[in-house]
């Protein structure tokens, strides 16, 4: 692996599927007929160094989510693809596994455990999480009584305590609350996660990509191109 955190060569992904049939006869026929194929990613080559922040941009349907799933190992690439990763990978998405019927306290433990934190670590970070999310008076209130802003703040506060070597961050700053909290979040994100960790940052917010990325990978209709210059990447993406 050398200094690469992620090393991808000739990675392609084709999905096989049957059309959703409505008649019983067609449904039964689909059991034996050949599936249709859709190539979502084609010959992706991507080498990411340890500690780098790579912005990934592309229109909806360009293959961003599929690429993240492949890196995480949820699905398998096509034959002939090569992918090596070094270290524990975590995809950070806000509100992972939140249960509206459970209290904030319960959700912190569940969410923290899902994000790879031990109960001991969660216990140590508990007060920080509560304070950061500004929900000191609602620790034992079920989440269904929280405003969407409170839920987003709590979710963010837990996520920045997650422990991994490679983070796949998908629209993380989309809805974390008002402008003041957004600035606070960005600062916490930079302090907690931008410290030597490898990050793949997927976002439609070009402002976020511009501010945080070392390099930018642009996906267009399943093919990708890496840009050292963030401005050039954004220009290529917009055109």
């Amino acid at each position: 692996m050398g200094d690469y955190s992620i090393d991808i060569k000739n990675l392609s992904k084709t999905f096989s599927f049957h059309e959703k049939e409505t008649s019983i006869a067609k449904k039964l026929a689909s059991l034996v007929t050949k599936a249709k194929k859709n190539r979502v990613l084609s010959d992706i080559n991507l080498q990411i160094n340890k500690g780098e922040v790579i912005g990934i941009i592309g229109k909806n349907g360009s293959g961003k989510s599929t690429l993240l799933k492949l890196i995480l190992g949820v699905i398998e690439p096509d034959e002939g693809s090569s992918m090596k990763t070094d270290g524990k990978i975590l995809r950070l998405a806000l509100g992972l596994g939140f249960d509206m019927n459970l209290t904030a306290r319960d959700n912190i433990y569940v969410n923290g455990a899902i994000l790879g934190m031990s109960f001991k670590t969660i216990g140590k970070a508990f007060n920080d999480i509560i304070n950061f999310a500004e929900i000191e008076n609602f620790v034992d209130t079920p989440l269904k009584f929280f405003s969407s802003g409170m839920r987003s703040r709590l979710s963010f506060a837990i996520a920045i305590h997650a422990e991994a070597d490679i983070y796949l961050i998908d629209e993380f700053f989309g809805d974390v609350g008002d402008e003041i909290f957004k600035q606070k979040s960005q600062k916490a994100f930079e302090n907690n996660l931008l410290s030597g960790k490898t990050i793949l940052l997927v976002s439609h917010s070009l402002e976020t990509i511009y501010e945080l990325s070392d390099r930018v990978y642009v996906l267009k209709e399943g093919s990708g191109k890496m840009f050292e210059d963030v401005d050039a990447a954004i220009e290529y993406y917009l055109n």
Binding site: F15, K69, L72, G73, V74, I75, E76, K88, I89, L90, R91, L92, A93, L96, G97, D99, N101, L102, D106, Y109, V110, A113, I114, L115, G116, M117, S118, F119, K120
Partner: protein, 261 residues
């Protein structure tokens, strides 16, 4: 008390995650209900009342200790039925985990089965309360009950894994399984004693491992019932075989199945 025990177990995130997911699943099942956990008890008790009425009053079946007989069979079957029906959807329900973190899918099944097992334990406590009130003794093979429970756990886990892998690809499986559960309810020995199967339908014992599990459950939980050791060995071997097959399928096809979730 359990939390006190857990505090002394070395820190292990995998174990903690399995336990927390199981705990939350168990809590969620009764969280919004006014009577909470009491429903876990009302379900088998109401079924016992109905079947007791049908069999003893309507059909005039005269069997000694029919209430604990029914109770012991029903709680094992209800737990199996609930585990497999809800377990079939486990991959869809836990999509947020599968798509976001790297972990062994076995953990999903372990947390699901732990949650179901907690409900079963709750019902077993109620069962022991009932036999004490009725003045009935537990079976002479009571100490073998953990082995029967282990057999139940292995068999149920294997079925849950296989169903959950099939469900995202072939959604009709849940309807087929509902029929299997309905048929199984009447042919797995919830209502009939071991002698009935051994004399009339011995082939069914070998075809349906649940018959043996229920026969041996009663040998452990209710006085006057025989423990069928060869049947236990046969069932255990079949259950382990099924679990090995289920894990093989899981390893081989999990990433393919993930595309359909």
């Amino acid at each position: 008390m359990l939390n006190a025990v857990l505090k002394h177990i070395p820190e292990n995130n995998r174990f903690e995650r399995i336990w927390k997911l199981a705990q939350v699943d168990f809590k969620k099942r009764y969280y919004n209900d006014k009577l909470g956990l009491i429903w876990a008890l009302i379900n088998p008790l109401s079924q016992i009342a109905i079947y007791y009425f049908v069999f003893t009053v309507v059909l005039e079946k005269d069997e000694e200790n029919f209430v604990p007989f029914l109770f012991s069979g029903l709680i094992m079957w209800i737990a199996f039925s609930e585990a497999t029906k809800t377990g079939a959807n486990i991959l869809t329900n836990k999509k947020y985990l599968i798509e976001n973190i790297q972990f062994n899918w076995i953990d999903l099944y372990l947390s699901h089965m732990t949650s179901i097992f907690m409900g079963l334990m709750f019902n077993l406590v109620a069962y022991f309360g009932t036999v004490i009130i009725l003045g009935v003794s537990v079976g002479s093979h009571f100490l073998l009950f953990p082995l029967v429970l282990l057999n139940w756990f292995i068999l149920t886990t294997a079925v849950v894994i296989i169903l959950s892998l099939l469900n995202p690809i072939f959604e009709d499986i849940k309807h087929i399984w509902a029929i299997v559960i309905l048929v199984g309810f009447w042919v797995s020995g919830i209502f009939f004693a071991g002698s009935f199967y051994l004399t009339e339908y011995e082939w069914m014992i070998h075809l349906n491992p649940f018959v043996g599990i229920l026969l041996n459950t009663r040998a452990c939980l209710l006085e006057g019932n025989e423990f069928y050791l060869p049947l236990f060995i046969e069932n255990m071997a079949a259950s382990i075989g099924l679990l090995v097959l289920a894990i093989f399928l899981l390893k081989k096809y999990s990433k393919k199945v993930a595309e359909f979730i």
